[in-house]
Symmetry: D3
Subunit: 330 residues, 6 copies
Amino acid sequence: MKKIVSIGEVMLRLSPPSNERFFQTKQLELEFGGSEANVGAALAFWNNHVIHLTAFPDHELGLAATATLRRNGIDTSFIQHYPGRLGVYFLEQGAMHRSSKIIYDRAGSAFTKIDMKTFDWDKILDKVDALHWSGITPALSQECADFTFHALKEANKRGITIFGDLNYRSNLWNFGKKPHEIMPELLSFTNVMIASTRDFNNCLNEQYQNFESAKSHVFERFPNLKYITKTNRESVSSSHNKISASLISKENEYFSREYDLTHIVDRVGTGDAFAGGLIHGLLHHDPQYAIEFGMAAGALKHSVPGDVLLCSKEEIEEIVAGEAIGKIKR
Amino acid sequence: MKKIVSIGEVMLRLSPPSNERFFQTKQLELEFGGSEANVGAALAFWNNHVIHLTAFPDHELGLAATATLRRNGIDTSFIQHYPGRLGVYFLEQGAMHRSSKIIYDRAGSAFTKIDMKTFDWDKILDKVDALHWSGITPALSQECADFTFHALKEANKRGITIFGDLNYRSNLWNFGKKPHEIMPELLSFTNVMIASTRDFNNCLNEQYQNFESAKSHVFERFPNLKYITKTNRESVSSSHNKISASLISKENEYFSREYDLTHIVDRVGTGDAFAGGLIHGLLHHDPQYAIEFGMAAGALKHSVPGDVLLCSKEEIEEIVAGEAIGKIKR
Amino acid sequence: MKKIVSIGEVMLRLSPPSNERFFQTKQLELEFGGSEANVGAALAFWNNHVIHLTAFPDHELGLAATATLRRNGIDTSFIQHYPGRLGVYFLEQGAMHRSSKIIYDRAGSAFTKIDMKTFDWDKILDKVDALHWSGITPALSQECADFTFHALKEANKRGITIFGDLNYRSNLWNFGKKPHEIMPELLSFTNVMIASTRDFNNCLNEQYQNFESAKSHVFERFPNLKYITKTNRESVSSSHNKISASLISKENEYFSREYDLTHIVDRVGTGDAFAGGLIHGLLHHDPQYAIEFGMAAGALKHSVPGDVLLCSKEEIEEIVAGEAIGKIKR
Amino acid sequence: MKKIVSIGEVMLRLSPPSNERFFQTKQLELEFGGSEANVGAALAFWNNHVIHLTAFPDHELGLAATATLRRNGIDTSFIQHYPGRLGVYFLEQGAMHRSSKIIYDRAGSAFTKIDMKTFDWDKILDKVDALHWSGITPALSQECADFTFHALKEANKRGITIFGDLNYRSNLWNFGKKPHEIMPELLSFTNVMIASTRDFNNCLNEQYQNFESAKSHVFERFPNLKYITKTNRESVSSSHNKISASLISKENEYFSREYDLTHIVDRVGTGDAFAGGLIHGLLHHDPQYAIEFGMAAGALKHSVPGDVLLCSKEEIEEIVAGEAIGKIKR
Amino acid sequence: MKKIVSIGEVMLRLSPPSNERFFQTKQLELEFGGSEANVGAALAFWNNHVIHLTAFPDHELGLAATATLRRNGIDTSFIQHYPGRLGVYFLEQGAMHRSSKIIYDRAGSAFTKIDMKTFDWDKILDKVDALHWSGITPALSQECADFTFHALKEANKRGITIFGDLNYRSNLWNFGKKPHEIMPELLSFTNVMIASTRDFNNCLNEQYQNFESAKSHVFERFPNLKYITKTNRESVSSSHNKISASLISKENEYFSREYDLTHIVDRVGTGDAFAGGLIHGLLHHDPQYAIEFGMAAGALKHSVPGDVLLCSKEEIEEIVAGEAIGKIKR
Amino acid sequence: MKKIVSIGEVMLRLSPPSNERFFQTKQLELEFGGSEANVGAALAFWNNHVIHLTAFPDHELGLAATATLRRNGIDTSFIQHYPGRLGVYFLEQGAMHRSSKIIYDRAGSAFTKIDMKTFDWDKILDKVDALHWSGITPALSQECADFTFHALKEANKRGITIFGDLNYRSNLWNFGKKPHEIMPELLSFTNVMIASTRDFNNCLNEQYQNFESAKSHVFERFPNLKYITKTNRESVSSSHNKISASLISKENEYFSREYDLTHIVDRVGTGDAFAGGLIHGLLHHDPQYAIEFGMAAGALKHSVPGDVLLCSKEEIEEIVAGEAIGKIKR
Ligand SMILES: [Ca+2]
Ligand SMILES: [Ca+2]
Ligand SMILES: [Ca+2]
Ligand SMILES: [Ca+2]
Ligand SMILES: [Ca+2]
Ligand SMILES: [Ca+2]
Ligand SMILES: [Ca+2]
Ligand SMILES: [Ca+2]
Ligand SMILES: [Ca+2]
Ligand SMILES: [Ca+2]
Ligand SMILES: [Ca+2]
Ligand SMILES: [Ca+2]
Ligand code: NI
Ligand code: NI
Ligand code: NI
Ligand code: NI
Ligand code: NI
Ligand code: NI
Ligand code: NI
Ligand code: NI
Ligand code: NI
Ligand code: NI
Ligand code: NI
Ligand code: NI
Ligand code: NI
Ligand code: NI
Ligand code: NI
Ligand code: NI
Ligand code: NI
Ligand code: NI
């Protein structure tokens, strides 16, 4: 069992049931989700001690959000509640050739006003093994960028392994800063980074032509960086994807198997499940097992409704071992 | 059949099914509602031609909102769509001793940026008999206050009867102006006003001790004002209310009967149903019938889920006539 | 345990969930119901052997209807299936002041073509104690009127006690005959008749001013008639009724207690539950117990969704005895 | 934006949720659908002005049907309401090897009594660009056949482009006439016809051996006919189909790509979505784009529950362009 | 904020939706509930630190039960998981005259095998202010009786205030012991006891004729006992109850107001909400406020679906203060 | 039409809707199922007279179970009801790579106490053509083993064809006996046995290396055995399986076609559907048709939610004939 801190916004997720479109639905299924907390929930499900840092409004929906993280096994002791709104994302699940659609309604949420000075880092980071952040958080507001910087600096100071998911999103970054004014410093603290060529180009203001050239420059520029992770997804349709990933160090590259995923139930959060699996794998095992464990977690998430993986370590291990694919377990 | 214009914001209404609390629910029922459009929908259901003026975001939920108004019989030709968010209100229905709870999340909606200059008033107000506004709109933003002022001025200029629901809400009015800086001018255009002593005091910055003294001063100060309407509600519990109303001119007072309402299904929008009934009554009948028709509409709304009345003219008339209370009609 | 034959149409019942109106609903709850089969189902639930005679279309919904009667304990061996449609009734449950609304769509159903000659009366009526019919059936078609006449004649011939529910409905009787051309003959076979003054007037083409005068003439005219049953219902609202009943012979009148019914769940089928209870009571007990048992069954049905009572004999008996009203039984 | 008139019956569609069979279900999902109005709804969703002509009963379900067409953007001003029943179709969705099952219960609906003389053709057809009919309507009753003939004659007289979907259904045509007594005259007015060899044979009382020979004779016999459209569907299972289509003029044939459709959500209305797309394409673009736009619309409809396409022009265009297949759009 | 330990079994609660009976339902709503944990959840909702002690099976439903307690704010660190089954109770909600029905299926659950020796009492009881038990636990098995005895002895030894709910249930006590062989010793440790005359008679093997005589003997026999609490419930119907309570010391009696509860949503757990309120009141306030706070909590619980109160301290306080009964709070 | 007796336990089946996991669900769909009764229900759906022998608790859920078998067309006249619990199985449907999970909670059910002496075998087995048992029943308790032995002996004595599904389950067999102490005697009565090499090895305490050697020894050892049936299933994922089967006599082997099953809805009960189809086929047709009919029934069951096939004979026959795969039947 390891102790891990994840940081980031958790939103209200509202999605029509079955395959209904926004235009026709009369009901929305309610969940709470956010990339980094999804990672945290996967890790907590496998009995790691996970502390999530975030801020919620102090009304009933903020309480419900906290309670739901707690239900998923996350340590919510350090979550803050103050006046404001809860970020919302409306999710219409795609099917067949039809794409999924997300309408974000997160501007001005309580989280965007998070105040790094109100967190007791000594207490939070005590005996912590790893911290996980993503590129979504610093894009939301100056307060969020400051909070991320501070968390990473404090973690780095204490020798905590830092994982990041670069995850560049062009429709965020509306508070006045450019990604490359903020992200390089965050990357410089990070030890394991999930990223694509496009992520690097956008966050570092570069024009790498391919992953190969991005990789060599990035390892050079950020000496703390030990691993980069690259994921590949081919989208045959909303119901059918093929996925694989590799974990890359300066010297080696570890490949996962490829998964042919038909009959997809819920693609949202599959990257987070992968990240959670990778972190778990690297904290407890070797790199080759880590990339396989991560990818198996990511593949399994496609079968679970909601943002969160909700699969046991044993279930992932069976997939890694190639046992019990689609059986009835009694 | 009369032609009526209503103006105001329409929000996404999200509420847990059955009697569930926000804290426990996994699903939200989706409706669209807003005080003035609820009034408009009631009037449209009775075959009046109702134009509603509002602004929605140009995404899928904005389209669904427009389509739902249209389904309810409202003329949506003049509704505007532009970038922004849709106002949301989360509604937890009360039951027994437990109060209902509304969490508003409407700040910064597309509607708050409505631009009066983009409306073609000649075309909109052509042959219109009545316009309905409420005190919610001018409280939302300077743009909304300007828009209301403009609409009323244009309507007044054309001799259109103006109905208003004063509806003071203290947690609105955050854009910098005080109610009494804006409301008196709007009241000066209005011919029929639904209001309580508290509404008058807050909107006019007065300290009337009772309705009697408010009434005489208000009739004096606003010569266009022909009727004031006062509603009374006694709340035994969330499931049991008693309601009645009166319609007051300078010379007369017309009283409705009192309704003893047990087994309440949905109280939201009952004031709007009353307002719609009153407008219909005054446009087509005499004051005594109007106050009875309005109150019967308001009473019936307590039995219909959602924001909107959805009862036919014949159903209201039967209640007014004291026929067919709780029968099985085959 | 007694053996009882009920005859009549069973329709598809479709109703919006919760308190939704037809205008707004996206879902209909599906049940199967019909007055006489509802009576039969109540009797079967109390371990009487009940044969129901009807006709269904030979498609999947007709099979589902038969299967549902069978689930409710009814002997469906003699039900016929042939080409045609299934009668439908759409039910919008009322609430508070709002009435319930039924839209019948039953014209031209398979049942209206029922052929009395295809029934083996010797086999069906073997050892039967009682037969139950209602005034709905002869109103539907000439075939239905013939079928009812035949069934009653055959039952009467064999000394079987005949129960009827006169149940005059003005929007039926569209096949060319007037009620008084058909009903008197059917009444002449009947031993126990549930009826109001209005029913008698319409079915016998009389103008009785009150029940007293109807009663004395009817007992005179129909010597087979042993009991008339009168039910009283005061409708405070759709959610609140008061009911009572009496059982009247030439010499005596037996009164039930009155029930004050608030928080009504489903009023449909409550008269059928009463009829079932009355038949059970008269077949197994004395007249005073019978009217109490019937009324308790009718009262309890208001709490059960669907057309059918679904309450055990013990539950009815406890209500009759005044025990266990609204307890938690563990 | 074009102005288009569609004509035809709209029914109540009732279907069990998920994959349930009629035999087991307790709930039916309620929609309103009909082939020609489905075409109209697709066109209205893309901002064409679509008038639908039909007749509904004047009860609550007829009002709800009208309101639902209106919600979908259709101009319902000319819809008629009079006494009668609403046609119903019960739909059990197939899955895997299991076929879908439709039980029609439409005989004697209000629509079958539609009276062509009550429509003001000058007003309806003013500035109209196109009219769409299908072979279902003339099969329903003499009134329906007359109504179709009249609408087509009036449209033809005004130079309006006429689209038709021949759609021969053997279990209709019960009112006494044979298809070839009625259909040739309707075909003679039509400019673009969707049809198979089997449709032509049944409607023209011919025995064409293949589409090639049907095509040449039909173009010869009906000089107004400019295009025939042929669609191909291979059914691997209820969940997996392959579809393509071509648009054929006397001189040319334009082919769509083939779509491999796995994970089908709802096949009903996919032909109508195709027809809508084809009409839109031919009214706004060239024949090659039209057949691709139609087929993309038809393919996308398989992913949307209900009878109606509910996909934007942009979504169809992306499929035509081969972009954004099964992505998550944020 | 106080620290409180609750002990007892938590079961899977399965109940038909709406007002459906077991006989007709196709779905069961799933909750987890148990008398003592319900008390704990109410206390945790008011920011007390509540540790619940119980045992669950180590399968998925046991994990879900633990997670649900955790969601409700309960400290689940000391809950044990080992092989076995989860106790189940099937709940059919009553309505109107119809009683609620509970089918227990709890025999042989993992909890009945709980092993007191596996609990680290020093750690669990560190700084604890109060412990709550009920008479259900010692009735389940010898292991459960031993576990209760041990917990109370350890708590008593440390000066912790002990609350109990005597709650005699005749259909438990099947493991060989009589209540009076076990309960007196448990009572001797208890400081505040909720009990009726019937409870005392059954648990102490006495024949007290009324509460007055029970009270004086019990205070005499059990010197640790400081308060007895008596609750009164009049059941007009399943939908309408009247409740009140009093708190009795040797010298004084503190009475709550009476609540007239119509439109009841869910009566289960209302006694537990009362107990939670009473404990909270006595730990933080005076006896008069405590009995009012407890009764207000109990009254409010009737409006909340599920076993657990889920109402904030502020909501209870408003009821105690007589404010905000059945309002809409915005 | 044949007369068939099936024997075995029927449990309450509880499963989360859609693709939800146990951990996250708030609702369970309720069905009743058990291997042998599922076989019986399939046979009854095809108009065979099927008597099922089992025992249920005498509470409401036991009544509902009986009623549901009756709804499915099974003759429930000989089912026994006495005190006890109803066996439960919780089913989480798998999807994609994720396996299905069943939690059995059946120990100590009423069925395990079934008393063979209370059955009137002369009456039950009168004119019966076939009896079906499975290896689940004798594994449950000594009473169940005795009951099975008795039923088979009585059937064998009367020349009734005996079908069995060997179905070895290692987590049953907890009552003290080993399979090979009981199963050989049951096998010796059986004429047609569904079994795998693993089943034979476990039930006969053998170590056959392959089906070939098992087959020859088994035919030798059990002279009553006329056919063995072997089924093959390849699990690509929970949503995609391939299945086929063969029917083997001493001299011949009859092969079914292979089915490629994608988009699986519900795999549970597919083996029972196969067994039902096989029995029906062998009772009414030749062995080659029987194995095809069985496999087609098994394949179709994958598309139907619940334990039971619910497909007509005609639907199966169409699949056998290769017609109507995935069409829309109107
Ligand atoms: Ca879902
Ligand atoms: Ca979901
Ligand atoms: Ca609702
Ligand atoms: Ca609602
Ligand atoms: Ca219901
Ligand atoms: Ca119902
Ligand atoms: Ca659906
Ligand atoms: Ca649908
Ligand atoms: Ca509920
Ligand atoms: Ca509940
Ligand atoms: Ca399901
Ligand atoms: Ca199911
Ligand atoms: Ni679903
Ligand atoms: Ni869900
Ligand atoms: Ni509900
Ligand atoms: Ni729920
Ligand atoms: Ni859910
Ligand atoms: Ni609703
Ligand atoms: Ni409901
Ligand atoms: Ni709804
Ligand atoms: Ni829906
Ligand atoms: Ni229902
Ligand atoms: Ni569904
Ligand atoms: Ni269902
Ligand atoms: Ni739907
Ligand atoms: Ni409900
Ligand atoms: Ni239901
Ligand atoms: Ni619920
Ligand atoms: Ni589902
Ligand atoms: Ni279901």
